[in-house]
């Protein structure tokens, strides 16, 4: 395939900017781009824009809402013929959260994830309390109010908080 034409590249950049304004329904402080679930925006051989989105967790109830919101954002901005595709492989990892996404999470009161590979080995390090910044925290449960969060309590300020799970 030859290099993409400038018009197609510009359209893809515009769609990225557009998707960066589509909020996650469960954690509206984050956009779907911050979450790292938009895998690609590119022009296909059929000359149409293809947008690839990957689910975070197989059972995440937000997946359908994200699909609807993304479709609506594309339609409203004149990209009715853009194709929305579900991408399963490679599976999403919390490592794909953008640095901006991590900062927004912490400001929202949710501890950002640590590196998933290290966390899986049990060497991920503690969650940092989003309220007082202490690293002296304790995990209460690997499960929380949504599939993507684990439940912690801070030993310093005693505030309970969520951590974005590391997978």
């Amino acid at each position: 395939m030859s290099a993409p034409e400038p018009a197609a590249a510009e359209a893809a950049r515009e769609v990225w900017r557009l998707l960066a304004r589509v909020p996650d329904p469960e954690i509206p402080a984050l956009s779907i781009v911050d979450l790292g679930i938009v895998r690609y925006v590119r022009e296909g051989a059929d000359r149409r824009l293809h947008v690839g989105i990957t689910p975070t967790y197989t059972g995440c109830p937000a997946t359908a809402a994200i699909r609807t919101a993304t479709r609506a954002a594309l339609d409203e901005s004149g990209h009715r013929d853009a194709l929305l595709e579900e991408v399963l492989s490679p599976p999403w990892t919390s490592d794909w959260l953008t640095p901006e996404g991590r900062a927004k999470l912490e400001a929202f009161g949710i501890a950002p994830p640590v590196a998933a590979a290290a966390a899986l080995r049990g060497a991920g390090g503690p969650a940092r309390c989003p309220r007082c910044g202490s690293l002296s925290t304790e995990r209460i449960s690997e499960f929380g109010s949504t599939p993507c969060k684990a439940h912690y309590v801070c030993s310093a300020c005693r505030e309970p908080f969520d951590q974005f799970k590391c997978i």
Partner: protein, 264 residues
């Protein structure tokens, strides 16, 4: 959304006929176990465990949806995930009979979960290298979730087993009553063999050894005793179920059976 990955097996009709029930085994085990876990919501011993079991159920039902959608495509008769979940009768379900066993007490639920989590760990890990790209993708996704499910269930097995006299007795009782349903987990039948020969599924024989070593070690730490293996007649993966599945489906399918096509 369109799903671009296609199964290499689909061109081969005979293989496709074995692939359909094979995918149903995975899908139905997740679906039925997810439905069972959902019965705990609002009843678990502590809020954290209530949330934990509900989260497990959510993941399992998510896995079932991906797998049932794929099964429907393989079958090619226009059945989608909902038609397969809500409009099949018990003998058409291919879940492990273990998954349909009633929740019992918390120890029964944990032992059942730990046994199936261990099976899923082996099967999903093997499937990540499947010649069927779609199954490999679903397995890689599901495996991440199964790993923390296993941490949850094996953590609780240890706390119950190596806990009080009461919790130890209950965990042992649960193991004694559920163990008879585990023979089919790693005993390959014709479908398992054909999937393994085609490079689609892992060989169950090799996985069985790893699984038995792992659970043997964890049971010793939890001060629990592995019961003797006895042959048993319930092979859910071949459609031979216990009476419990019919009751579970009665509740799960009630709405679609009574008001066909209803949605909200």
């Amino acid at each position: 959304m369109s799903a671009p990955a296609a199964a290499p097996a689909r061109g081969d009709r005979a293989l496709g006929e074995a692939l359909f029930p094979y995918v149903l085994r995975l899908a139905d085990t997740s679906l039925v176990l997810g439905q069972r876990l959902g019965e705990w919501i609002g009843h678990a011993p502590a809020l954290e465990e209530d949330l934990g079991l509900a989260n497990l159920a959510l993941d399992l039902i998510g896995q079932a949806r991906l797998l049932l959608t794929y099964a429907g495509e393989i079958e090619g008769r226009g059945r989608d995930e909902d038609a397969l979940a809500y409009l099949r009768d018990a003998p058409e379900f291919r879940n492990l009979a273990l998954a349909e066993q009633p929740n019992g007490d918390f120890a029964h639920t944990i032992v059942r979960q730990w046994l199936i989590d261990g099976w899923q760990l082996e099967v999903y890990e093997g499937l990540t290298g499947s010649a069927d790209m779609r199954l490999a993708a679903i397995a890689a996704k599901a495996l991440k979730e199964t790993r923390y499910h296993y941490r949850f269930s094996s953590g609780w097995l240890l706390r119950l087993g190596d806990g009080t006299a009461e919790s130890q007795a209950r965990a042992q009782q649960a193991l004694d009553s559920l163990w008879r349903f585990t023979e089919e987990l790693f005993a390959p039948d014709e479908i398992d063999e054909r999937m393994a020969e085609a490079g689609i599924a892992p060989r169950l024989g090799a996985a069985a050894g790893r699984w038995e070593r792992r659970i043997g070690q964890e049971l010793r730490t939890a001060t629990l005793t592995l019961p003797e293996r006895r042959p048993h007649p319930w092979y859910g993966k071949c459609g031979v179920h216990t009476e419990h599945l019919g009751h579970l489906l009665g509740e799960m399918q009630h709405l679609q059976r009574t008001y066909p096509g209803v949605s909200w």
